[in-house]
Symmetry: C2
């Protein structure tokens, strides 16, 4: 049965221009899926810098370990990603698979193995034949295409119901640069079949340490602000590659004032991709924006917002179109950050529901009920304590989630 496309899916995959120095190819290498591509390879011209953020999981996959080891090198010539098997908890066999893959990709790209980056997404704990990817790489040599963004985004999907892409341009000095990204993810993690992966490419010339700072900051405002089920993948990986072909004066300092527009555009691409992952949340029927203001710090605001966003009771209430603000009070109370019952204000869809330690006198639920029936739900939680603020995105918890994750693997 083909999966139904999420009711929250945006329109078509965006048109994305070529990025000089980036070529893409996909194929089926038979790891799990039949009748669709499950391998994506990006080739990058010499001189491409790279930055990455990976899962904090202590049981991270072999590909994650490889990326962590080689990201400090700062140079990338190839990215190899497969779907259908995460190569996590696969022991020495998993490490041998990574080694065989990067060696074959290095030969294809004409580079060092340490300039190849890998990511895998899918079932945990199932060994992959060592040469499953390596044996397929030589045959790809004529398949690379500067316009292959949509097939690339599709090849890395697992339980995703739509391909996720985003593109922006930015000015660095007098030069226009392009940023293209694609991502996959459906449960924040569903380790059987999903994980969050993101790959971003730009023709800007930016030194690797600067790119790393930009990515770390932007991830904090995007991928680290979404949750579907609060679970953490063993494979989460986001890579940004900068080919330098746009011809801007190379940026070597994170504080360079010419970076302002690029920083904003990168943030926009990452937030767009992050929101699309939530829009494809397993079983999601509603997209929920949780804004927390007036917390003791931004960090406290984020923790409170994520506690609300991860509460099964809040998420099931949204699924039931119930503006059950008592559950938000509960979540604020359990977040462990400073809160004062009598200063807390809770609004939904712009309507103040509770303040001064109780329901607002004469509260009329009618507009809130109407808001809860929509697809995009907004909660505002004001703590009245400090200046800390954060926005987090999540989806509702529905029967669909149980169906997807409660069914047997095979």
């Amino acid at each position: 049965m083909a999966p139904k496309i999420s009711p929250l899916a945006p329109g078509d995959f965006p048109w994305m221009p070529a990025i000089p120095g980036v070529r893409l190819a996909t194929t089926n290498c038979g790891i799990r899926y039949k009748g669709r591509d499950d391998l994506m390879v990006a080739l990058l011209d010499p001189g491409t810098t790279v930055a990455g953020v990976v899962t904090r999981s202590l049981t991270a996959s072999a590909p994650v370990h490889w990326c962590k080891k080689h990201l400090p090198g700062g140079s990338a010539r190839a990215i190899v990603v497969n779907s259908g098997n995460s190569n996590a908890f696969t022991g020495k066999a998993g490490e041998a698979f990574v080694q065989a893959t990067v060696e074959a990709a290095a030969k294809l790209a004409g580079c060092e193995a340490g300039e190849v980056f890998v990511a895998s997404t899918g079932v945990i704990g199932q060994p992959i034949p060592t040469d499953a990817i390596a044996s397929n790489l030589p045959g790809l040599s004529n398949a690379f295409d500067a316009d292959g963004w949509f097939p690339a985004a599709k090849a890395i999907m697992t339980t995703d119901t739509f391909a996720k892409g985003s593109t922006r341009t930015a000015r660095i000095g007098d030069t226009t640069v392009t940023i293209n990204g694609f991502a996959k993810g459906s449960g924040m993690i569903a380790p059987d079949m999903a994980t969050m992966l993101g790959f971003v490419f730009t023709d800007a010339a930016i030194a690797a340490p600067v790119l790393q700072k930009l990515l770390s900051d932007a991830s904090e405002k995007s991928f680290n602000r979404i949750t579907v089920d609060g679970d953490t993948s063993t494979s989460d990986t986001v890579l940004v590659c900068a080919t330098g072909k746009a011809g801007n004066k190379p940026i070597t300092k994170a504080g360079d004032k010419h970076l302002a527009d690029f920083r904003t555009a990168l943030e926009e691409v990452l937030i767009d991709l992050a929101r699309q992952i939530v829009q494809d949340g397993e079983g999601a029927t509603k997209f929920v924006t949780i804004r927390v203001e007036g917390a003791a710090s931004d960090k406290a605001a984020k923790r409170i917002a994520l506690t609300i966003a991860n509460s099964p009771l809040v998420k099931t209430a949204v699924a039931g179109e119930d503006a059950n603000w008592g559950r938000i009070v509960m979540a604020v109370g359990k977040a462990g950050e400073k809160a004062d019952r009598d200063k807390l204000r809770i609004s939904a869809g712009g309507v103040l529901i509770a303040a001064d330690g109780m329901e607002v006198p004469g509260y009329d639920e009618t507009p809130v009920v109407a808001h809860m029936k929509g697809q995009y739900i907004d909660f505002l939680v004001e703590l009245g304590i400090g200046e800390g603020a954060a926005t987090v995105w999540t989806c509702d918890l529905t029967h669909g989630y149980i169906d997807i994750n409660g069914s047997y693997r095979s």
Copy 2:
């Protein structure tokens, strides 16, 4: 529609003997429910000591605030509990309701207001008429009964599908003492309609500070080891009252060697009640025991066990009868405690599934599949790092949970 009784419910409510110095009464005071009692009052003879543990929520209810304020007094003469409304986030009106209730109960019991303890469970944020309980208390004066345990346990139920009680005897020196407890709770919290409350009574003579130490220790091994959905109530309250009528030499020191048997019996009562709460977990069809061994510390073991127990992906896999050990690897990885992929061992139903960083060679899933089809599921996670161990109990996450919590309040 009357709720179906949980498939995990134990047999009948246990027979519980009278505890000298404790009398119970119940009635309907019309706060929410019709056709059933929603108020439980316990009267305690002079000289009764009390200890309590309450929610750590920072948005705790007015009754919780009252208990926290008066528990240090160490003396209890009455406990008043209502179901149907939690009196949480009800502002000054909620405080006035507590004040009116404790004053009326103090008059009934012939004691100080500070010797009356209160708990409320049910909807958050709905004011209760100030005298809803107070006006009903005088009429109860002839209704108290030393054998009213089952009606008492029923009167405090909300979404619970069965009444929860437990009884044990213990020896203190040459004296046999009795411990009776009853509890309610169905979601670890479903703040609409549920919360975890527990009331325990003994005829032992134990000073309040000693009782507090015993309760805190035993709660850590019982109520703090269960989770249904990881949410935390604004109202959770457990009280233990000791009437001293058994005639044992009063215990005034926590280190008293005569306490060993009582400590064990109290732990057993609390664990029994805690397990019954999980057995009545909203939508639960399977009872899951998660044992973590070999962690860096007991605290680390508990955190890892709770992370596994709270993972929606683990819980939906159990619902789907899928021994999806990859999701346990994922949960161990996200717990944030020390773990080593290559030392981790995972077993289900006594069968070792994964070790040495991968699935056990030749792993035969047959006995594990059979185990997962049962009602009682056991996972053992061995970290191989230290001596820390902990056991946690939870239930599966099913469509029933979504049905119960996704339906509109009214």
